[in-house]
Amino acid sequence: MPLRLILRNLLKRPLRFTLTAGALMMAVFLVCVLQSLVVALDAGVREAKSDRIVVQSAVSLFVGLPLAYQSKIETVEGVERAMKMQWFGGIYQDSSGFFAQFGVDTDRLLEVYDEIRIVEGSLEQLRAGRTHCLIGKGLVQRYGWEPGSRIPLQSQIFTRGDGSPWEFTVAGIYESDSASIDENTMFFDFRYLEETLRARGETEIDAGTYILRIAPGTDAVRVMAQVDSMFENDAQRVQATSEAEFNAQFVSMLGNIPFFVSSIGGGVLAAIALAVLNTMIMAGREQSRDVGILKALGFTDRTVFAVLLGQSLLLCSLGGFLGLGLARLASGPISMVLSTQFPGYEVTPGVLGQAAAVALAIGLVAGITPAWRARKLEVVDALRGEA
């Protein structure tokens, strides 16, 4: 029956109950989404491989490196493979149809990125034609492409002279186990780019970055230092970084956004906690007489404490539960919408657990004040209506 008392008292004011539970639901939902965004932002850094090194121009990411560097880099001891990786900057249909494309050495792709698993088509098919490409599963879901599909892309960086789009043909579909390689990327043969540009008369062709795979047990720091010094007196000086550092550049380009996002979440929670506290204090005051009655009948201080705290906990569990449910349901659509900006967006059990703990903590904080007051209430004062 104390349970019935908890329930009935909560439901006594249906509007207040619904509004408060709704506020909690939204707060928990928001916290799940914000927290998942932060997790997604960091995924590339967190899941970066320590046996990969990225070589870029020392000047800027937007300056290319001579093709001749590739074989020189491979002479450094401990470097197993160096692969060209050129950002293509293509746009499909209109600017909303944006995803990442890279021109790569297709024969080295799977050696350097061993988390890539081709699930349809094959590496042979990819290498069988110049315009062939490998696309991630996410792109299949987004555009419905399949092996054989033709993909026309306009590049912001590389034009074909006659203004016509670059044509690609899907030769394979991949999945990836790590956030370093998301499933919304397209890889194609660097030679397609190179040959088309040469045919147009361009002579200075370069590669954006080189991705190195180093042998197990190799000292990555030593390799990076050696690569850096190798081109110190060349036309293009280079900067070698670990994959984690390289990925972190992109996160830091966003400045303090992760911190900012977390702060917003925290602020929302604090506001909601105060609102729930207010509701529970009001409910507690309304139930002063009930508390006096219960105590007069012989119920202990502990029981009335539990009745008041129980209302807050129940309210917050319910609101929180709905919020978690909403976050789960919405995670599919949200990750679709954010697939290019936040490729790793996923509401993980960890995030759900955190949000649930937060909802319960709010229930505890908001419930303890009125519960403590009820516990301390003197029967005589409560019944005289002086409490």
Partner: protein, 235 residues
């Protein structure tokens, strides 16, 4: 002669407001035999409620001693007093004091949660108490769906459901019209006569006091007189 059920010796309850002291009760001596029916009368503020609350263990005296059934209440902890109250004391208040969100049946059943009874036994006891006050057909009503007289009868059912030795009623008819008041007085009289309950009732109404065996007069916290009523009226 057996020991009286309730013994007060020099009991005072003093409230301090600023520098002043207010003696809500001032050195009250009183002995009450088990199974008797007492009415407490006196002007507003004379300490009637304070006295009843002390006897029921809702409040503690500042001076003097108070024992019930040979047990000095001062020796009991708060939790012990609560336990004793649950089993031995029934309260009826002027404002009924039912829990608004619970049905009449649940209100009556509430004190039984503190007794070692099964759910079925609780149901049965509650049904029996409601029958005693003539409200079996209103068991599922919320207090707000009942008249004042009916609410007070539910409160009486709640006070009796644990089969306590005494019932403390603080102006139980104060908010009721005459007909409802009569039925409440009739009920209390029957609890006294048929079930042998000790009844202590605060009242302003001389007609109500006439139902009791003794009338205690209080004024400014002092016990003025205890009158024996040779022929208690049947309400």
């Amino acid at each position: 002669m057996t020991e009286p059920l309730i013994v007060l010796e020099g009991v005072s309850r003093i409230y301090r407001r600023g520098g002043e002291q207010l003696h809500a009760l001032d050195k009250v001596d009183l002995k009450i035999e088990a199974g008797s029916f007492y009415a407490f009368m006196g002007p507003s503020g004379s300490g009637k409620s304070t006295l009843l609350n002390l006897i029921g263990g809702l409040d503690r005296p500042d001076e003097g001693s108070l024992s019930v059934a040979g047990q000095p209440l001062a020796a009991l902890s708060g939790a012990d007093i609560a336990r004793w109250r649950a089993s031995s004391v029934g309260f009826v208040f002027q404002g009924f004091n039912l829990i608004p969100v619970l049905s009449a049946r649940d209100n009556v059943e509430l004190p039984l949660l503190l007794a070692p009874l099964s759910r079925a036994q609780r149901r049965e006891h509650a049904a029996h108490a409601l029958e005693l006050v003539g409200l079996s057909d209103r068991a599922d009503h919320r207090p707000s769906q009942l008249s004042g007289g009916q609410q007070q009868r539910v409160a009486i059912a709640r006070s009796i459901v644990t089969d306590p030795t005494m019932i403390l009623a603080d102006e139980p008819t104060g908010d009721l019209d005459r007909a409802a008041a009569d039925s409440v007085l009739d009920l209390l009289g029957r609890l006294h006569e048929q079930l042998d309950k000790t009844i202590l009732m605060v009242t302003h109404d001389p007609r109500a006091a006439a139902a009791a065996e003794y009338t205690v007069h209080l004024d400014k916290g002092r016990l003025e007189s205890v009158e024996r009523n040779e022929t208690p009226a049947k309400a």
